[in-house]
């Protein structure tokens, strides 16, 4: 404790230099926080994606429709709780830039168990009642200025039996989706309305959503479903939402490599700058340190004095930088929907800041400790 004022005065010996080093470290950790946060955040999002919700689609590709008739056989697989046929198509509102994904679901029983949607009970009831009813994501409602009771025409490339490519819906409520992997503009419609209305493809689904009775059964159930259709004309592939999220992250490609390269370059430059500054600082203070030793400070005490000084500056600056990174993170994270700054990243960042300080101050501190009082004072 008694060293505190000493450390403090050491830090502020040259205020200009300390402020500059502080800013430099802070800036480096803003970048570290944003980049590493993005990487860890995406990894978390994948890890949190539901592993117990399964999607059954065609074996070869995600885009091949499979017959609605498989429903009964999937339902008969032991461990399956709910199976919901899903039809998907893209559409836009008023102009092509205002796109949305239309998700046609069959609303029988506890169908919501097989999805990650969060729907208020009154909206759910209203949706189940009306054939042309639609639920829209809160985000889409806000962006496209939709209100409950609105009648919205959506223009698509999926023609209806009468040749029209416009599908009309009555908005009866809004919902949110906890799964971050898919888009924010979503409209839920009735599968019956979709299937009977469309000109082509009646009796097929894009995929089935499956909820299992026990989360631990997810993998065996998925295997059992695929085995049931193996060697049939409609082979399936059953994947959990987590597996799909992983695939989506892999689409982004060499993100890991990129982030690692940039972070290393930033830290290398930073380490160099702090090390030189500490060296310079110790050199300038040789007489003062010699005086300290003369009045009885041990080598050890001087060593730690220099070290602690560096750690205090770097960790404080790192904390500032990471705090700023947390503030700006939502902007950088807009490429990935619903991402928040992971706490792990902040912790690792602080540890790194301390490590940078220790590494860069070790040599100067050792030099300060080895200082021979007589020669140091003689240089004066």
């Amino acid at each position: 404790m008694k060293y505190l004022p000493l450390i403090w005065s050491g830090i502020w010996r040259k205020p200009g230099r300390t402020v500059l080093i502080f800013l430099q470290v802070a800036v480096a950790f803003v970048l570290f926080g944003v980049l590493q946060g993005l990487k860890t955040g995406i990894e978390h999002a994948v890890a949190e994606a539901r592993a117990d919700l399964l999607l059954v689609h065609g074996r070869e590709t995600f885009f091949a429709p499979i017959p609605l008739g498989l429903l009964g056989q999937i339902r008969a697989v032991p461990g399956v709780k709910v199976v919901v046929p899903v039809g998907l198509f893209g559409a836009w509102y008023q102009k092509p830039e205002q796109g949305a994904i239309i998700v046609a679901v069959s609303t029988e029983g506890d169908w919501t168990d097989a999805f990650t949607f969060n729907i208020a009970p009154q909206y759910l009831a209203a949706f189940n009642k009306n054939r042309t009813a639609a639920l829209v994501t809160e985000y889409a409602a806000q962006k496209y200025h939709w209100k409950i009771g609105d009648h919205i025409p959506m223009i698509s490339k999926t023609p209806q039996k009468d040749g029209s490519t416009t599908w009309a819906f009555d908005i009866v409520g809004t919902f949110t989706d906890s799964d971050v992997a898919v888009g924010r503009y979503k409209i839920l419609m009735h599968f019956a309305y979709f299937d009977e209305g469309r000109a082509a493809g009646t009796g097929s689904v894009d995929h089935f959503n499956v909820a299992v009775t026990d989360p631990r059964l997810a993998v065996p159930v998925a295997d059992a479903i695929d085995r049931r259709f193996a060697n049939s004309s409609h082979e399936t592939k059953t994947e959990s939402l987590r597996e799909l999220a992983q695939a989506q992250v892999q689409q982004i490609g060499d993100l890991d490599f990129l982030i690692r390269a940039v972070v290393s370059a930033v830290l290398a430059a930073l380490l160099f700058a702090t090390a030189t500054m500490m060296m310079q600082s110790v050199r300038e203070r040789t007489p003062e340190l010699a005086v300290l030793k003369t009045i009885g400070f041990t080598d050890r005490a001087v060593f730690f004095l220099v070290l602690v000084e560096a750690v205090v500056v770097c960790v404080a600056a790192g904390a500032c930088g990471l705090a700023l990174a947390t503030v700006v993170f939502p902007f950088a994270g807009r490429f990935v929907y619903g991402l928040a700054m992971p706490k792990v990243t902040v912790a690792i960042g602080l540890a790194l800041a301390a490590a940078v300080a220790l590494v860069s101050a070790a040599l100067p501190a050792a030099r300060a400790a080895r200082l021979r009082v007589v020669t140091a004072l003689a240089e004066r």
Binding site: L35, E60, A64, S233, Q250, G253, A273, T276, Q280
Partner: protein
């Protein structure tokens, strides 16, 4: 001027004694420039690949005001379009026009098994797609009406299941890979098949886009006027290069935004480091500077000499950074978001990197230069 040169020479001769500070500036600038250039090289590489194989006499037609996935051009429009003036004809006298349909498709990367989505292209005129520099390297063309497709050699290298004779499932039907082709310098996997067959399979009534070759690029005016004069055609034509660039805009915009975002933050850090180093250089020369002032050197010369010194210290970092980026990353193939392309470190990028370095050096040198010029003569000389 002579004062300035003498000062500059003195400072530079003394750099050896201040190695630490000098290296801080060089390393900081090197890292910043290397990162900035390599990241920008992604955008340049993607752009170069996209426009690299496009020829000047190539034009594209799409439905007015829509993106490629939403654009729909009816068969009637296609028929009317074929008779417009200016369109080049092949040796059989057929107009060089190709209607394209895009449907979603996917592949699995070799080795990792990662799933990547890309479009499957339906072409109404495969001769058009395979005109030089593109050429069939193996197998044969797909036959209209059959479930057959051909893929670029890039597909075979990057993805599983594109060997000759391999079966691919599209909408519940098995499609056979019957040929391989090369498409200029592009690394992008492109899979081609018959437009009509795909359209009937997917229940489509029109094409997404029509590619047209004109006799001469200068015939575009005539062609476009005729297109706009026909009330039955609700289409718009553009040079293919322009269209490719607008298709790439979002992706390139994202890459460039990320590059400059990271580059700027690193530049701020490197500049701060330079300021710090220069301050300590100036401080270590206080007596020297005071002596010079005492014997009549002007403040302006001292400011100028310090600024130029700072810029000159940033320069080796810039060159080193550009060289590093080129050595490590030039020509490296990467595959973000289903695109595959090589990083391209061009002289233009090196220029950007060097400009940034010079600006960093200049800004970093400003405050220390002012301090150097204001060294109080008497106190500095008296100090030991």
């Amino acid at each position: 001027m002579r004062q300035f040169l003498a000062l500059l020479r003195m400072s530079l001769e003394g750099e050896g004694a201040r190695l630490g500070s000098v290296l801080t500036i060089v390393v900081g600038v090197t890292c910043t420039v290397a990162v900035l250039i390599s990241m920008l090289a992604m955008g340049t590489g993607a752009h170069r690949q996209a426009v690299g194989d496009v020829q000047d006499d190539e034009f594209v037609v799409q439905a007015k005001g829509s993106q490629i996935m939403q654009s729909e051009i009816s068969r009637e429009e296609m028929v009317a379009l074929r008779d417009l003036p200016g369109i080049a004809r092949d040796k059989d006298g057929e107009p060089q026009v190709d209607g394209l349909v895009l449907v979603p498709f996917e592949g699995h990367r070799r080795g990792t098994g990662r799933r990547v989505f890309f479009p499957l292209l339906g072409s109404s005129n495969s001769q058009f797609e395979l005109r030089p520099p593109a050429r069939l390297t193996e197998g044969r063309l797909f036959r209209p009406g059959l479930h057959e497709l051909i893929a670029t050699n890039a597909c075979v290298r990057q993805f599983e299941g594109f060997e000759l004779g391999a079966k691919r499932e599209v909408r519940g039907a098995a499609w056979t890979v019957v040929g391989h082709y090369d498409q200029g310098q592009s690394l992008q996997c492109i899979v081609l098949s018959d437009a009509e067959t795909l359209m009937s399979l997917f229940g489509r009534n029109g094409y997404n886009r029509i590619s047209v070759r004109l006799d001469r690029p200068s015939d575009f005016g005539t062609f476009n006027r005729a297109l706009e004069a026909n009330p039955a055609l609700k289409l718009e034509a553009k040079p293919a290069r322009e269209q490719v660039e607008s298709d790439m805009k979002q992706f390139n915009g994202l890459l460039n935004f990320v590059s400059y975002f990271i580059g700027s933050i690193m530049a701020v850090g490197a500049t701060l480091g330079a300021v710090n180093s220069l301050y300590s250089i100036v401080d270590s020369r206080r007596r020297e500077l005071a002596t010079l002032r005492a014997i009549g050197f002007g403040s302006a010369a001292i400011v100028a000499a310090t600024l130029v010194e700072s810029v000159l210290l940033a320069l080796p970092g810039a060159l080193l950074g550009a060289a590093l980026a080129w050595l490590l990353f030039h020509g490296m193939a990467i595959a973000p978001f289903g695109f595959t392309f090589r990083l391209d470190v061009t002289p233009r990028l090196a220029e950007i990197g060097i400009t940034w370095a010079l600006v960093m050096g200049f800004i970093g040198g400003l405050l220390p230069a002012l301090r150097a010029a204001r060294v109080p003569v008497t106190t500095a000389l008296r100090a030991t």
